[in-house]
């Protein structure tokens, strides 16, 4: 594999909430242009880790570097698109009004803003519902709108926390196609998931269990190294080896 540009470098990161150790000495590098998946059961520490990468939280130990800058750094945060685990939308406003608001925060205005809004709504297949109030949206629609907002300012790094929860398989496929498209524009994507078959679609995976990074590699490598037929089996073997 050719030498690749490092976008994220996590160095010995630990995090404790009071006595509970949620992240345990995680060291990891993520490269430009890949779709990196964090796979782990609920409560493993995925959200805690990606929040630090976005700059919304601090490690108790260790450092996170994004685009070569130690996080948190405001100029770096501008270059990241973040979609949180909760939808984080203003329900009493329409989808369009939500979009206009968040786009303005990133300095998008006028025609360019309109174009971007149209573009991202196409990506998530919501063009027909642009002027609907968000309170009338279904769960899956809210999830997609939330994703669309994260894409608005054409970030070169996308950090998506469980982006496809509550989305039906057909739309899930179209969203993954959108991820592939973004990848072609040289964007880096970080996706967290607890769904094993979704993990197969990532270029590389980081398996997290109880705050520990138990394995990193391409889905093929991980399966091959454990001689398992699928990711789920591989996860169990890595997890068992750790325990």
């Amino acid at each position: 594999m050719a030498k690749r540009k490092i976008i994220i470098s996590t160095r010995n990161v630990s995090k404790a909430f009071g006595k509970q150790q949620v992240l345990k000495s995680i060291t990891l590098e993520i490269y430009k242009g890949e779709i990196f998946g964090f796979l782990g059961p609920s409560g493993a520490g995925k959200t805690t880790l990606v929040k630090q990468l976005v700059g919304l939280d601090l490690p108790t130990d260790g450092e996170n570097h994004v685009f070569g800058k130690k996080m948190p750094s405001l100029p770096t945060m501008e270059r990241i698109g973040y979609m949180a685990q909760s939808d984080a939308l203003y329900e009493e406003l329409s989808a369009k009004e939500n979009m206009v608001f968040f786009a303005s925060l990133y300095g998008l205005k006028g025609q360019h803003r309109e174009t971007r809004i149209r573009k991202v709504m196409e990506i998530v297949n919501l063009t027909d519902h642009l002027n609907k109030l968000v309170s009338n949206y279904s769960g899956g629609m809210k999830r997609r709108l939330s994703l669309a907002i994260a894409l608005l300012h054409e970030p070169k790094l996308l950090i998506l926390d469980e982006p496809t929860v509550g989305i039906d398989p057909v739309l899930r496929k179209s969203i993954w196609n959108a991820f592939e498209e973004l990848k072609k524009t040289d964007a880096t994507l970080i996706v967290t998931t607890h769904v094993m078959d979704e993990a197969e679609k990532c270029d590389r995976l980081g398996m997290i269990r109880d705050g520990r990074l138990i394995a990193v590699g391409t889905p093929e490598e991980l399966k091959h190294n454990t001689s398992s037929a699928n990711i789920e089996e591989a996860f169990l073997i890595y997890g068992g080896a750790e325990a």
Binding site: P72, A84, A88, L89, E91, E92, F101, Y106, G107
Partner: protein
């Protein structure tokens, strides 16, 4: 630019939420109207009994302004008094009048006493031949309780609703995750607080204008000074309510917990803001007044509305109010550090 986006969004949310909008404007109007009706009703006409009252004496007294009944025995008067038919009865024994009051309602008591004093004035030997002339430095003889309470109530309602609505809005921002989304954008922490201050500031100006105009021009609340000052004071007051509400929302996990601050933080301020006479308050409590924003707002509003004062008299109060706002503003920026350290 980013702040403008925030302000526009807040105003949009206000317009969408018709019910909250209505609550903030019509609830104060409703309560002020009721207060007006309660306090500005006609003066109470006392009902009195005269027991065995000599005819010639009656002619010397000024007996207008009360409903009088003649009794020929005390026991009948007592029965009527117990049945609340009369508020009191007057006896004339040993050449001296005496009065027995029903006594359970202080406001009725003082109405009776006031009437008795006036009625018996002609009997007093050394009463001044000329009537005492009374001049009012402020206010007037027909200024009612409502005129005196009014400015405090006006301030209170604005404080109450701005505190609650701003606190709940910010709380929702936190619990729905939109605050996190704001903080993952280039928005600075001070820009968030400023956006809230401006958005709610614009809205409260509208709210205060409507409520104050209604109280003054329709309910006829006393208004000696300039309307502009009233708006200025309410603006400063609402900024302190807003910044305090946002700050305290950080210590609430849901709307109900936000409401729990009302009896603790908001209502007590009324007692220290001059609705009741502060000088008769126990001294171990009266120090609290100057620590509350409503204290200064009420004093400034009274200066303008009752006493007709202007800028030179209200600016110290405004200064204190801005002091509160600046303090809470800074506390808010610090509190947001919890969600993003820079």
């Amino acid at each position: 630019m980013r702040i403008a986006a925030l302000v526009i969004r807040i105003l949009r949310q206000f317009i969408r939420d018709k019910r909250t909008l209505g609550l903030m404007i019509f609830a104060p109007i409703l309560v002020l109207t009721m207060m007006h009706l309660v306090f500005s009703g006609d003066a109470y006409v006392p009902k009195l009994g005269l027991v065995d009252f000599p005819e010639p004496l009656q002619e010397q007294l000024q007996l207008e302004g009360a409903e009088l009944t003649d009794y020929d025995s005390i026991s009948k008067a007592e029965t009527d008094l117990a049945d609340k038919q009369i508020d009191g009865y007057i006896l004339f024994e040993n050449q001296a009048p005496s009065i027995v009051l029903e006594g359970s309602d202080p406001s009725v008591n003082s109405a009776v006493m006031k009437w008795v004093q006036e009625a018996f004035q002609p009997l007093q030997q050394n009463s001044l031949s000329k009537e005492l002339e009374i001049e009012f430095f402020h206010g007037s003889a027909d200024m009612g309780q409502f005129d005196y309470f009014g400015p405090v109530l006006l301030g209170f309602f604005i404080f109450f609703f701005v505190f609650l609505i701003a606190g709940v809005s910010f709380l929702r921002e936190r619990t729905t995750g939109t605050l996190e989304r704001l903080l993952s954008s280039p928005l600075r922490r001070w820009e968030i607080v400023t956006g809230y201050v401006l958005g709610f500031g614009i809205f409260t100006m509208l709210q205060a204008t409507i409520i104050a105009a209604y109280s003054i021009y329709i309910l006829g609340m006393l208004m000696e000074g300039a309307f502009g000052y009233v708006l200025l004071i309410t603006l400063f007051l609402s900024l302190s309510a807003l910044t305090l509400g946002i700050f305290l929302s950080a210590f609430a996990n849901n709307e109900l917990q936000m409401i729990q601050f009302i009896p603790i933080i908001v209502v007590p301020q009324v007692f220290f803001s001059g609705l009741f006479n502060l000088e008769t308050m126990s001294s171990w409590l009266s120090w609290i007044g100057p620590l509350t924003p409503l204290y200064y707002a009420a004093s400034a509003l009274r200066d303008v509305m009752v006493r007709g004062y202007g800028w030179s008299d209200i600016y110290p109060d405004l200064l204190f109010l801005s002091g509160f706002s600046v303090l809470f503003f800074i506390l808010n920026i610090l509190a947001l550090k919890k969600y993003r350290s820079i």
